[in-house]
């Protein structure tokens, strides 16, 4: 009794109710996240087609099988190409658009809303629409390009252009997301800093480079990390427009893992692949955090 009374009466029952309140979340996380992670690791050492019982194969999925899987390396390369083009392009475009729209231009809210529309739609509808726009024979994009003397490019059907097309659809879909985050960041920059820079004789570009960019670094960093994570997991647009083709031109890792698991029913090998990709994403995110963090401290 005596020790009980030492507990602040105002905090009565908080220990108990605290656990009760977080229980649904934690139990669901255990069942649908933690157990699957362990199960996935276990499966990556198995050969399993979901019909016959799983068979332990040791590291074979990671060694012999993966080493001989040329398409996995093509898929990794494709994903790298996708990331290295779409992330810088998407982030730089978002920074420029957001900077303009955070100013006092006429109609900024209308422009912002228009650019944001694709974010609200499913990638499936967006891909359907763009597949038609980019049609090689009757597509309206080729019609506009024909004014400039560019003729009949089969955007999604030509190995040279398919990946670029997929990247551009991805940027079109997600630009509004990044722009909205960066507008908020640019608007948070105190007006007085711009005024001070103006008094020091800074021109528009200098204000952008020396005031707006450094002060918005955390948001730019956030947008970049999100883009990295998303670019490694690109799937919907490939499924809807190219199915990995033509040839292997757009076969990205997530699509290859999906095919191994749900087309070839090689669950063990698909799990092993997903672990390799997870480790790559993890390393990239860590490097980015270290690099991003260092950048910030120098500014």
């Amino acid at each position: 009794m005596k020790t009980r009374q030492k507990v602040n009466p105002i905090k009565k029952g908080e220990n108990f109710w605290g656990y009760v309140f977080i229980a649904p979340n934690l139990i669901a996380t255990a069942i649908f996240v933690l157990i699957p992670i362990l199960f996935s690791l276990y499966m990556s050492f198995m050969k399993w087609d979901m019909i016959n019982p799983p068979e332990f194969v040791g590291l074979a999925n990671f060694t012999e099988k993966m080493m001989r899987d040329e398409q996995f390396f093509i898929a990794l390369k494709n994903t790298a190409v996708y990331s290295f083009i779409s992330i810088p392009l998407g982030v730089v475009a978002a920074i420029l658009v957001a900077y303009v729209l955070s100013g006092d231009l006429r109609g900024t809210t209308v422009f912002r809303s228009i650019i944001f529309i694709p974010v609200t739609l499913s990638m499936i509808s967006v891909s359907m629409i763009w597949k038609w726009l980019l049609n090689g024979d009757y597509g309206v994009v080729n019609y506009f390009l024909s004014f400039f003397g560019i003729d009949g490019i089969s955007w999604l059907g030509d190995e040279r252009y398919a990946m670029m097309s997929v990247i551009l659809i991805g940027i079109w879909k997600s630009l509004g997301f990044n722009v909205v985050i960066l507008i908020a960041a640019f608007k948070d920059v105190p007006k007085s800093l711009y005024e001070a820079a103006a008094l020091d004789g800074a021109n528009g570009f200098q204000k952008f480079k020396n005031v707006a960019l450094p002060l918005s670094a955390p948001s730019i960093f956030f947008v970049t990390v999100m883009s990295i994570i998303n670019s490694f997991q690109v799937f919907d647009v490939v499924y809807m427009t190219t199915q990995g083709g033509p040839g292997d031109a757009t076969r990205v890792v997530y699509y290859w893992i999906y095919q191994n698991a749900f087309k070839f029913f090689d669950m063990g090998y698909a799990s092993a692949l997903s672990w390799i990709v997870f480790i790559i994403i993890f390393v990239f995110t860590m490097l980015q955090m270290k690099f991003g963090g260092r950048n910030q401290s120098y500014d």
């Binding site: 309140f21 669901a28 609200t120 739609l121 629409i129 669950m267 799990s271």
Partner: protein, 285 residues
């Protein structure tokens, strides 16, 4: 400090930049509106008119038969119903459970709180592709493949992002409210539901829109678990529609219009929630 005359000179200089910016934004807006315009135009064309070069910008004779054909060929209303049902149930659950846990992590003093929160937050790092296969196996073992429960249950109890968002908001609310309610004899659940939850309407509507969008647009997971036509959600229904009618773009675009229109209307009505939700995720994240 700056004289009015100087301001005028600066404004003149800026005008050229402003015009360039405005023109740039108009071109960008065109790139974002044109696809939708073209989708609607195509959806009103006769099958032979979509295969003309140069393409016609206004259908010779707009036909609405494409729309009735789509409705006849795929049960698009059923898909809508499925998508709305799944997104609504999932979202209501997510918002409630994220509020509950966010409140506990912000306002209740229990042992191991900080550590549990950190561990929970770290689950955000796990990419979906790791979870895909084991989750499917779990659903298969439970006999839930090709049932709506498979696309609802893994998500209904909330996620780390939502809990984080709610926790950040609850931390801004004063703790004295709780103390006053305790003195009045309220129990902990009562304090949460009656005192704190009503104060979170703004952030709840933001999280609601965010979660709804995520569930509504989810593709790969339902693609794997839902196979029956009558259970399909809009995204996977549209995907199979495209694989069946791959070159009949007049039909495909009519389907696209039907699927996009309600989302656009919702966006126009709740723009503030959509945009603030995203902006917030950037600031807090």
């Amino acid at each position: 400090m700056i004289k009015p005359g100087e301001v005028k000179v600066m404004k003149k200089k800026l005008n050229a930049v402003k015009i360039a910016e405005f023109v740039g934004m108009c071109i960008l807006a065109f790139i974002f509106i044109m696809p939708f315009f073209w989708t609607v135009i195509t959806s009103l064309k006769a099958p032979n008119e979509i295969l003309t070069w140069p393409p016609t910008f206004f259908p010779e004779k707009p036909i609405f038969k494409n729309y009735t054909d789509v409705i006849k060929k795929i049960n698009i209303f059923r898909m809508f119903g499925n998508s709305i049902y799944i997104a609504l149930v999932t979202t209501v659950g997510q918002v409630f459970f994220c509020s509950l846990a966010g409140y506990a992590f912000a306002k209740l003093d229990f042992r191991g709180r900080e550590l549990l929160f950190k561990i929970y937050l770290s689950t955000m790092m796990v990419p979906g592709m790791i979870l895909l296969i084991p989750r499917y196996v779990i659903m298969r073992e439970l006999g839930w493949v090709d049932k709506h429960v498979s696309v609802i249950l893994p998500f209904i109890f909330g996620n780390a992002f939502g809990v984080f968002l709610m926790r950040q908001f609850y931390m801004t609310l004063p703790g004295q409210l709780k103390e006053a309610a305790i003195i009045d004899g309220a129990s902990q659940p009562q304090i949460f539901i009656r005192v704190y939850m009503p104060l979170t309407k703004a952030i709840v509507s933001t999280l609601f829109v965010f979660s709804f969008m995520g569930s509504w647009n989810d593709f790969l997971w339902p693609l794997i678990t839902l196979q029956s036509a009558k259970l399909k959600t809009l995204p996977i229904g549209l995907a199979s529609f495209q694989s069946l009618y791959g070159v009949q773009y007049n039909l495909l675009m009519a389907g696209a219009v039907l699927s996009v229109l309600p989302v656009m209307l919702a966006f126009l009505l709740a723009q503030k929630q959509f945009i603030e939700g995203i902006a917030l995720s950037g600031v807090k994240g």
